[in-house]
Symmetry: C2
Subunit: 460 residues, 2 copies
């Protein structure tokens, strides 16, 4: 098996997807229980790619792999794993391997690793840390979940404001324990409040005697330690920050957040929004059938309730339907078009709220625009669908009924599609989570009611 | 007006949303045609926030503002604006203001600014650049749209591989025209191929005589200049890159991409995915009613077609509906549940494809899981809805019919929800764009067909 036809390093595809050959070779190595080949396959891979592999190979094979793979990359792979799978892997790992893995990590990575674990797993990991590291992690865990305090690293480089480039360079050279990554030097006043920062690039380009204060960046911004991480990600993206000092309630420096961590948050937030808009919880491909069945159930339950409400509306009009069956044929079209138009409006609204582009200042203007646009489209589709109905059923009255219902329902869709997310946001409910159900309930109910109600007025 | 009750700097809210007071004060200043107050309001704001303000205040006020606001921030604000509004602002700006604004920008920002403009606006901007800048921008525009070549900056710092820390520092000190931001020194071989990089932090922490090769980072990765920007963003996020050298087909260094630009791409890609899943094009809150009406029309048109197909299925069963009107009342429930379950599956699939978590290696396992999970949920909701129908209409046969249709349609929803995005992806079509329509067409057609078909078999 060791003389596989293709060098393993070349198996990674150009577009960063895991190559199927790598996976097949790994399966063979696991079936052959060949630790050397497993190590050879995983060794050139980035921990993030190994984590992806763990998420893809299924539970049985993963346990087989964890039994025969020992590497100093284990800690890094753990950091990259999806939360659900992480607990499973931590349980499966031998105690000693886990201890070594955790000791290799930076304090912010340990925080990220342990914060979602249950108490037992958490204390098992904290126990293996050395005292100062454990204290640092425990301090970070004091900050609220999803806050800047959880995201920041404590390792940073700071100098007094009045230092020169030369003093700062000598200080850095003398420092034994520099952060793994740092891009700025933070200037602090005598009370430890950050007042400015200097990029390493500008510092390197300046002469030794230049005061640091002459080199500071306009982009300087501090982050409150209790700020929600979604706002931190927003700030990094909006203001093109690379790193930002984190301050406590007294404006004193307590840590630093770098853009790579903010990017991970931005990615997670988006992912959550997309899934929530579809009525899916925090799911991943490594979840079991049972996990996803449970996660999706409540949302389908809510949908069943709203669908029953829509059906109750239909049942009000059983008389007219039994006389004109064409109404039953056409009514889903009105509801479907309303649902679609509503989903368009609400998605734009949810995004605009998330990016802070939709505010009290422009809500009325945007509402007017949404309602006008969906009414305009409603008018065009009323004409089209009126024509189609006339040809299909040859009844001008039916054509008129569906045309009127179409315009009304699309106008309502634009209205509800904007107002419902805004209202949910005001109430402190994530509009991505709940808007869809409310909006389609409105468009279903209005669609069926106007269509069938108008039909029974005219036809009965 | 100049003595407004609250200092303008404090008007920005903690959570980064534009404060309504700022907007109100600005409106007053515009109504009073008071350039000094306008300047006072905008001066403390970040260009990205000014751009957001431009997007929110509406077209008429924006023109008034552009007439009286002159600032050296104009170029930076232009870079931050949504594309749609950017063209409008460029047209509205006086020629001389525009020229000054563009000359202040870095070459990659100019590329970003001009790439989506029409030919006339593009050449108007290129004309005002000095010759070397113009050549650099024109060269970047040679690379395909949305490629690494368009994203990279040409300004970078590189050294021969064999240099020491001291040599590199002296080189940087001697360099007149350093990039605005740089975090790494790129080591190149004699043929200009990048072979490694060193972070400025590690370099600063080392003694002058240390060879740079002793300080290189494991994370080193080059980006091909033709790589799609979505893959670039993926690589930065997956591998926690801060900057990466960009190479041409001969592996020679041509530029560098930094994480802040990759983060912007990641944000845009996500935004596009969310909007596409809802059948909305690339929309923003600054678009006019007419813009969004046109953009949403095609998608509603596609939906109308699929709704008509579903109606055709219903019309096959007019007989049974006219005899048992309860079928018309209940049938939307089956379709709605199927549509929801399908949307759950397809959204998870679209995300997993985008994050490269769903591949040939695990597609069958994930498919089995999706179908099993949705069938399980289908079975539970079949029981619930069967019970509800029995109570509601008192007809056991009707309860049986809806229960069977529910299970079948939810199983199909899981199947179609995964396979349709995968198939579209294989065909090179963005699954976010088209999956929704296909999947709900399938669940509507199957839902109505199974429910009404089974009903007519039993009841007629």
């Amino acid at each position: 098996m060791a003389d596989s036809p293709q060098p393993i390093e070349e198996m990674q595809e150009e577009d960063y997807a895991l190559d199927r050959d790598v996976v097949t070779t790994l399966y063979d190595a696991l079936d052959a229980e060949d630790p050397a080949l497993v190590a050879e396959i995983l060794e050139p891979m980035h921990p993030a790619d190994i984590a992806d592999l763990f998420e893809q190979i299924g539970s049985g094979r993963l346990r087989a792999l964890l039994e025969i793979w020992t590497s100093d990359e284990v800690g890094a792979v753990l950091s990259e794993l999806d939360e659900g799978l992480r607990e499973e892997v931590i349980d499966a790992l031998p105690k000693t391997v886990l201890a070594d893995a955790v000791r290799d990590l930076e304090s912010d990575d340990v925080v990220d690793l342990v914060e979602d674990l249950d108490a037992e797993q958490q204390s098992a990991i904290l126990e293996v840390l050395e005292a100062p590291d454990r204290v640092a992690v425990e301090q970070s865990l004091q900050y609220p979940e999803y806050s800047a305090g959880r995201l920041m690293q404590r390792e940073l480089v700071m100098t007094p404001e009045h230092w020169t480039v030369g003093q700062a360079i000598d200080h850095i050279r003398a420092e034994e324990d520099l952060p793994e990554q740092f891009y700025h030097i933070i200037l602090v006043d005598p009370r430890m409040r950050p007042t400015a920062y200097v990029t390493l690039g500008r510092m390197l380009g300046a002469r030794r005697e230049v005061p640091l204060l002459d080199l500071t960046e306009d982009t300087f911004r501090t982050i409150p330690v209790t700020q929600p991480e979604s706002d931190v990600a927003y700030a990094f993206n909006q203001y093109h920050l690379i790193s930002a000092p984190v301050v406590d309630a007294d404006d004193r420096l307590v840590g630093v957040i770098t853009i790579d961590d903010a990017m991970v948050v931005l990615d997670e937030e988006h992912n959550e929004d997309i899934l929530r808009l579809a009525g899916v919880g925090d799911e991943s491909v490594s979840d079991t059938t049972w996990d996803i069945t449970k996660q999706r159930f409540p949302w389908l339950g809510v949908n069943l309730l709203t669908a029953i409400i829509a059906s109750l509306v239909i049942s009000l009009f059983e008389d007219v339907i039994s006389q004109v069956v064409a109404l039953a044929v056409l009514m889903p079209i009105v509801a479907s078009m309303g649902g679609n138009a509503g989903t368009q409006s609400l998605t734009v609204a949810v995004r605009a709220i998330a990016t802070k582009d939709l505010t009290g200042s422009n809500a009325w203007r945007v509402l007017r625009r949404e309602v006008m646009a969906s009414t305009l489209n409603g008018a065009v589709f009323a004409l089209i669908m009126g024509g189609v109905s006339l040809i299909w059923f040859g009844t001008p009255v039916l054509a008129l009924v569906i045309a009127v219902a179409m315009v009304v329902n699309l106008a309502v869709a634009g209205f509800a599609g904007l107002l419902i997310p805004l209202a949910l946001d005001k109430l402190g409910i994530d509009p991505a989570l709940a808007s869809g159900t409310f909006v389609t309930t409105v468009t279903d109910v209005v669609g069926f009611f106007v269509f069938l109600g108008f039909a029974s007025m005219i036809l009965l």
